[in-house]
């Protein structure tokens, strides 16, 4: 088991956003966390990235307890986040953004990885010296992927990668997610767009008001009448 969450509770101030949540992620899979707005998906993902820390419960990565480890210490272990809304350094160039994604490598390693990233995302190479804030939405999302992948993660956390993008570009993004999966990276995907998530995920967890309600393989869940009603319209 690559990642294991045991009964975590995460609070904002005194208000719990996630309660008694346990889940597991197997290596090589895409696991999707879905649910309505405010269900606690992003909160969970932030706890995995180390931005938030659960008050109760434990998070194990490769059987190691990482519950209280801060974000920048998790990146060298192989956990990388593609944050919601991309969160690029918009005043830095594309290449500089990638350099910061590879903060834990030296200049030589960075150069090698840069080549790999450019081969996965040729569009980024064309924009190498452009300021990130001036890229289009789709290009920014690609750069955000690139910035995460350049740190050589084993586990990639994707927070709403389709948010605010045009349908055509969303398709592009999901193609990319598949490509990333093919390279052997395990992915935890948070998504409001349940349809997209179902197509790509190996396993799904459905959250509601901070608690886990349903889990299972997408094909099985698709047959569930309740889910159909609630999420697929």
């Amino acid at each position: 088991m690559l990642l294991k969450i045991e009964k975590i509770e995460i609070c904002y101030g005194i208000i719990p956003a996630v309660r008694n949540l346990s889940l597991e992620v197997e290596e090589g899979q895409i696991v999707a966390l879905v649910g309505a707005n405010g269900a606690g998906k992003s909160t969970t993902l932030k706890a995995l990235a180390g931005v938030l820390h659960p008050r109760v419960g434990k998070i194990f990565y490769k059987d190691k307890d990482i519950t209280q480890l801060s974000a920048y210490r998790r990146v060298p272990l192989g956990i990388a986040l593609v944050p919601e809304g991309r969160q690029l350094f918009s005043t830095l160039s594309v290449k500089e953004n990638l350099r910061l994604g590879a903060y834990h490598s030296n200049d030589k390693e960075f150069k090698e990885r840069l080549k790999e990233i450019y081969s996965i995302f040729p569009i980024i190479k064309e924009r190498e010296n452009q300021i990130a804030g001036t890229l289009s939405g789709g290009e920014q999302q690609m750069l955000s992927f690139g910035r995460a992948i350049i740190s050589k993660p084993k586990l990639l956390l994707l927070d709403e990668p389709s948010l605010g993008l045009a349908p055509l570009i969303i398709k592009e993004v999901y193609k990319t997610i598949n490509t990333i999966k093919m390279t052997g990276i395990t992915i935890v995907l948070v998504e409001q767009n349940v349809k997209m998530a179902m197509h790509i995920a190996n396993y799904m967890y459905v959250l509601e008001a901070g608690e886990l309600t349903i889990q299972g393989e997408p094909l099985k869940l698709m047959k569930d009448e309740n889910i159909k009603k609630a999420y697929l319209g």
């Binding site: 990235a49 180390g50 931005v51 801060s70 974000a71 920048y72 998790r74 990146v75 060298p76 990388a80 986040l81 944050p83 969160q87 690029l88 350094f89 918009s90 005043t91 830095l92 500089e96 350099r99 910061l100 994604g101 903060y103 834990h104 200049d107 960075f110 910035r147 995460a148 740190s151």
Partner: protein
């Protein structure tokens, strides 16, 4: 009214003083860009640098270059300490608590020097080669050229550091968003510490320059140059390092011109004029000369 050589002389003097301000403003802009902090303690590093060099060279008779290197190192170390002790815990809190703490750190260092060394000013003697006078179209000493060249070299190195190096890029990234920097894996504490170390090391070096140029050092010598450096940052444009440098040179020239071209009684106002300029700039062009929009 004034001969051409007198005017050039004043411009030259302005550039020398401006170089010192520009170096100070450089470090101030770096720290302000990252933490949004006017680091009053920056001025204290000037004093520390001046006294450190004085003792190393004249009391311990160390070679010039070694004394300079040790002075810079001590400056960097004090910058490291002030960040670790004073600022780290307060980061992310109310903005003014950092400012107030930096005031406290400034007063602490100033009075520690007053107490441990002397409440009286010291005369600062230069190594003889720095005092050699060169008379050509204008008159200057070797120290003046030393200051200008050192400033240019530091600026080039600093520019390359911020533009090219991993830590430098991270500094600019953190200046944009501390949160994002943390979650892409940057060790934010380490980078902030580096920015203090770099800024403070440069400030310590300007302490030597100040002493060598003006021949006198005292426990409170650093306050005014430190505050003026921040004025340079604001006039040049917050968030812009070239702006800070430009602001530094501008203030240097203005101060020298105040003394050199205005009637004798006006030289009292050399600092007051800088602040009047500050208030005017803030009112008509709050972003400064080269600044981008400030989000505060």
């Amino acid at each position: 009214m004034y001969g051409a050589s007198y005017i050039y002389q004043q411009i030259f003097n302005g550039i020398v003083l401006g170089s010192i301000y520009a170096l100070l403003a450089l470090g101030m802009a770096l720290v302000y860009g990252i933490l949004g902090l006017i680091n009053f303690a920056h001025g204290a590093l000037i004093t520390i640098g001046a006294f450190c060099f004085y003792f190393l060279l004249f009391k311990f008779n160390l070679p010039f270059v070694l004394a300079i290197i040790l002075t810079i190192s001590l400056g960097g170390f004090v910058g490291f300490l002030s960040e670790a002790i004073g600022y780290r815990k307060l980061r992310g809190g109310p903005g003014l608590s950092l400012l107030i703490t930096s005031l406290g750190i400034y007063i602490f260092i100033e009075n520690a020097i007053k107490l441990l060394i002397s409440p009286q000013p010291y005369a600062f003697f230069n190594p003889p080669f720095l005092n050699r006078i060169i008379n050509s179209f204008i008159t200057f000493r070797v120290i003046d050229i030393f200051i200008i060249i050192t400033t240019i070299v530091i600026m080039i190195c600093f520019g390359l550091f911020v533009k090219r190096s991993k830590i430098g890029i991270a500094m600019r990234g953190i200046a944009e968003s501390v949160e994002t920097a943390g979650l892409v894996g940057i060790n934010v504490n380490q980078v902030i510490t580096w920015s203090f170390v770099v800024a403070s090391a440069i400030a310590a070096l300007t302490g030597f320059m100040w002493g060598a140029k003006y021949g006198q050092i005292s426990y409170n010598m650093g306050f005014m140059p430190g505050v003026i450096a921040f004025v340079a940052v604001v006039i040049g444009g917050i968030g812009s390092i070239p702006g800070a440098v430009l602001g530094g040179f501008l203030i240097g020239l203005i101060q020298i011109f105040t003394v050199g071209f205005l009637p004798l009684g006006w030289s009292v106002y050399r600092d007051a004029i800088v602040f009047t300029l500050l208030i005017i700039v803030l009112l008509i062009k709050p972003m400064g000369i080269l600044g981008r929009r400030e989000s505060m």
